[in-house]
Amino acid sequence: MQFGIFTVGDVTADPTTGRTPTEHERIKATVAIAKKAEEVGLDVFATGEHHNPPFIASNPTATLAYIGAQTERIILSTATTLITTTDPVLIAEDYAKIQHLTDGRVDLMMGRGNTGPVYPWFGKDIRDGINLAVENYALLRRLWDEDVVNWEGKYRTPLQGYTSTPRPLDGVAPFVWHGSIRSPEIAEQAAYYGDGFFHNHIFWPAGHTKQMVDLYRRRFEHYGHGAYDEAIVGLGGQFFMRKNSQDAVNEFRPYFDNAPVYGHGPSLEDFTEATPLTVGSPQQVLERTLGFREYVGDYQRQLFLLDHAGLPLKTVLEQLDLLGELLPELRKGMAEGRPANVPDAPTHASLVAAAGGAHDSTVYAEADSATGHRAEDAEVTA
């Protein structure tokens, strides 16, 4: 069972002081948070992807590589990678490269995005959202799994004899999760490929999450990737904790009341009852989190959203310390009663083992007449 954090990198005013961090401060804070996540023993840090203010999590590859260079153990992931508007050829290249740079410490979560104008900004039509996710991902898979790709589709210029470089590390592509809050088609897509399915979980009631995960598990089994309870499930989560639960409520309330997503709507009490948000003591966070299994089954990855709604960096780091202290009990609780056939989340090491061991995936291409291996070769043939 993996535990981690995910962030969308919102630049939001702290409602208690009125101060909004600069983009520079927020970007640096993101790195500090990721390093702290590794320090307190978490397994995953994920970020991405919005292409508009007030977010700093545009294409997150540079941030992930930078964090990768300053950490040793934590898995880097995305939350999410916009498979709709990002060229799958660039995704194939970028994440294969981060795989090499971080020795396989990377996976991805695909998403469609929720800012309408992003589609036209990148030359797409929002009404094609699902179709783009389906076609682009099918191409991405081939770019990773096949050395030479001939491809023609509806949304991208065709490819002839194309090799995406670098080839995936050890001949094994990064593991992929598909994230969706409410589109059954995406659960179906994850199941078809035997990929992971991640439900954001934090904005909607548990019954909805349960329904999406159940669909994914049923279809995972249908496509022959394993039993219902062997499908690879990830969940979001959200908490704010202090030793004394009333302190947590008092401190978090102004952030909740003014939060970009649900602020000025339901009360903190109504929202904590309807969704997984837990504001209280570490014991309350522990019990609530261990309860998620009751409606989605034993699962593989739990990511928490901690740095949002204008919470200052200092507070976020304190939350990470508290989460670190809680981790042994979370791990112990999740292991209790977990059937032996429920797998762990795939990692680079496990995928390599499943593929029968590492092999050099480099494509040693023949010299072509235009460029040759060396400049002088090209000159001779030109």
Partner: protein, 205 residues
Amino acid sequence: MTKLVVISAGLSVPSSTRLLADRLTAGTVEALEDVEVTHVELRDLAHQVTDQLLTGFPGAELAAAQDAVRAADGLIVVTPVFSASYSGLFKSFFDVLETGLLDGKPVLVAATAGTARHSLVLEHALRPLFAYLHAVVVPTGVFAASEDFAGTDLDARVSRAAGELALLMGKVSSVDSAVSVRRTTQDEFAEPTPFEQLLRQASGR
């Protein structure tokens, strides 16, 4: 069992909007053989409707109302006229309803206002809204100004609209309460209305 859902957006208690909704409901129940009625008072759901606008998911009571709409064989929807249209709360309830939920459902539209000057709101606001939502709007809409609660004209209109809705919803218990067909000029040539009847009608029965 036929399922009828009545959505009423009046804000005061008691409200003339609810009074009109009740009369339309009684007329429809009378015309149908076996009907189960669910009333949805939007005032009680106002907070949850706003919350769903902001969070994207319904609270428990609003979710129950939406499930009732999903299962309904027909709807009666009644709104007060605010600023020359349906009320914002009325519109918001349909704004947060899942796309496709009203496809092909018979809907009787009705509205209340202080004066008859607003009566075309049915045709200019409600009918286009429900046409957009792919509902089947019954031909007769019912508008009631305050003064209409005094006369008997409203009764005739209520029973005609209720009969039309009942016909679209399925089984009808009595033909009388169903749609009355208006006489054409050709009907008059074929079988003229006896003058005694014209005299009675001219002086209001």
